[in-house]
């Protein structure tokens, strides 16, 4: 969506999108704060930016927010790392070995298409509500983007490069290391961007179920006790983290693989 910026354009024209976007966000928060001058303010159901900011400062100072985030980050990290370690090699083999791909593709599609979150109650029973259970949910939700994208990446490898390596006497391992993996990398990063959101769903599902700590637990508990200011503070924090992770990966994609930026 980055339009070509002509050198002669002035500041407003060049940063029009950013300025308009920032303006809209500012208007939104001001309107949110101001509307309670007209509408009666009921802190049990809604909050306002000033109260949310106070709640946020409160949560930071008491250290609760950071504690909860740290608790949630551990299963997120384990599950996500396992998804990369399992999904990428599996996807590469599926893309490279045609028969393996044909054999596993329908099975993987069935798994990917079915709402696996529905198995969360079982996972909780099997693995408990601690790090293990949440990590397993995260793993199952985030592994399939890696499998499918890695396979698609391998299928898109330039056959010429493969022939060159073969002609120069490269073996199967050289092919994987020199050609396949570097070509697949952009696809894996794209998969990571999709998988981050799904992994966050995994953590939240695990924590909504029956946790006693973690950011998902904090949100549902603040909801239960009608502490809307702190609930909004936690929700906005999760939104900020999600945006930073997703857009951060998008930025990394644009920087590291500029030839794919058009996609």
């Amino acid at each position: 969506m980055a339009a070509g910026t002509a050198p002669g354009m002035n500041f407003i024209a060049r940063y029009r999108k950013v300025v308009l976007g920032g303006f809209a966000v500012a208007v939104f928060f001001v309107a949110w704060q101001a509307i309670f001058l007209i509408v009666p303010y009921n802190p049990l159901f809604i909050s306002k930016p000033s109260a949310i900011a106070e709640g946020f400062v409160d949560l930071i100072q008491s250290g609760d927010l950071l504690d909860d985030l740290a608790v949630s980050a551990i299963p997120f990290f384990y599950g996500f790392a396992a998804a990369v370690l399992v999904g990428v090699p599996l996807g590469i083999v599926m893309g490279w070995r045609k028969r393996v791909g044909e054999a596993l593709d329908p099975l993987m599609t069935v798994f990917y298409a079915s709402p696996l979150v529905a198995l969360a109650p079982l996972v909780v029973i099997f693995f408990g509500v601690g790090v293990g259970g949440k990590a397993v949910i995260v793993f199952f939700l985030s592994v399939f983007p890696f499998v499918f994208n890695a396979a698609a990446g391998v299928r898109a490898v330039d056959p010429l490069l493969i022939n060159v390596v073969r002609s120069l006497g490269g073996g199967e391992w050289d092919l994987y290391r020199k050609v396949i993996f570097p070509s697949v990398l952009p696809y894996i990063v794209a998969a990571a961007r999709i998988a981050v959101g799904r992994a966050m769903i995994g953590v939240l599902v695990g924590e909504f179920f029956a946790a006693s700590e973690g950011i998902g637990y904090a949100i549902s508990r603040f909801g239960d006790i009608f502490a809307t200011d702190r609930m909004f503070a936690c929700i906005l924090t999760v939104m900020a983290i999600a945006v930073v992770l997703t857009e951060g990966i998008r930025f990394a994609e644009r920087t590291a693989f500029p030839w794919r930026a058009g996609n």
């Binding site: 976007g21 809209a24 596993l104 099975l107 529905a118 499918f148 909504f208 909801g223 929700i235």
Partner: protein
């Protein structure tokens, strides 16, 4: 954008599958199907006979529902008719939420695709909401809409509206400037442009958005029923899980997956019907 990338992949695999078929032997043509089916059957057989092969403690066996049990449970759920009430609740939340997402997502997508100013203003919100797992709003939505149908509808709506909106937007942006200018030269107003050029042109994108939206909507029904509901298929599953009735949980999963497949199949039909005039479609047939 993730959605649009998925669209490209799907289009690419779809066309590759149709082109490959002509001059091959019978075995070559059916090899992928046979291999794929064989893997699934093999897995089901291993699952079925695992309790006989590996000695299990009685406690572990309690957790272990084999495929024949699950199919039996599914059959009896339909035979006794006990599934219809919860399935009806879940399906109506799904349908209302998805319909609202279409009613909001499509017009807004067209509008944002046609107006750079509005797009710049809405972009931060759309990016933020689309990146965030919508599940995070569930406690808030429960507070606002209470436990029951409308909090579910809200979760389904929030999940489904963004893929539709973003794909419509991309499709509108993708429309041919020349065609827009032609109809405008002939005196078309913005409504005519949308109707004659922009929306037909964006249709493949919208269809992909719809397919993604269905997946998100099913997900929304499942999770909202897990945490904030008193009836529905998701509630049946959670209750079964807490009573260790693993077969019912799997049966519920199959029903949800079936719902998702049926809806995706309907979209596929719609897609064939609406894109029949496209040249690439004519070549593929």
């Amino acid at each position: 954008m993730a959605e649009v990338q998925a669209a490209n992949v799907q289009l690419a695999t779809g066309s590759a599958a149709t082109i490959g078929g002509s001059r091959k032997s019978l075995w070559q043509r059916f090899e992928p199907t046979v291999l794929g089916t064989a893997t699934i059957i093999a897995l089901l057989l291993v699952w079925q006979f695992l309790p006989d092969l590996i000695p299990m403690k009685a406690g572990t066996k309690l957790f272990f529902a084999v495929p024949s049990q699950i199919v039996g449970t599914l059959w009896s759920m339909f035979a006794t008719g006990m599934i219809w009430a919860p399935l009806g609740v879940s399906a109506s939340a799904f349908a209302i939420g998805l319909a609202m997402a279409i009613l909001v997502g499509l017009p807004l997508g067209v509008l944002l695709g046609r107006s750079a100013t509005l797009n710049a203003m809405f972009d931060p919100f759309i990016t933020a909401f689309n990146a965030t797992p919508r599940l995070v709003f569930l406690p808030l939505l429960l507070l606002w809409f209470g436990i029951g149908m409308w909090s579910k509808v809200a979760v389904v709506f929030l999940g489904a509206v963004f893929p539709l909106l973003i794909n419509t937007y991309e499709g509108v942006r993708n429309s041919d400037r020349l065609l827009v200018n032609v109809v405008r030269s002939f005196g078309a107003n913005e409504w005519d442009i949308a109707r004659l050029v922009v929306v037909p042109n964006a249709m493949p994108f919208i269809i992909v958005g719809l397919r993604l939206a269905i997946g998100r909507a099913v997900l929304g029904v499942v999770v909202s029923e897990f945490f904030g509901s008193q009836d529905g298929l998701g509630v049946v599953m959670v209750r079964a899980a807490s009573e260790f009735k693993v077969n019912i949980v799997f049966a519920g999963l199959i029903v949800f997956a079936g719902l998702s497949l049926v809806m995706t199949g309907l979209v596929k039909l719609l897609e064939n019907r609406m894109t029949r005039w496209r040249p690439e479609h004519l070549n593929a047939e």
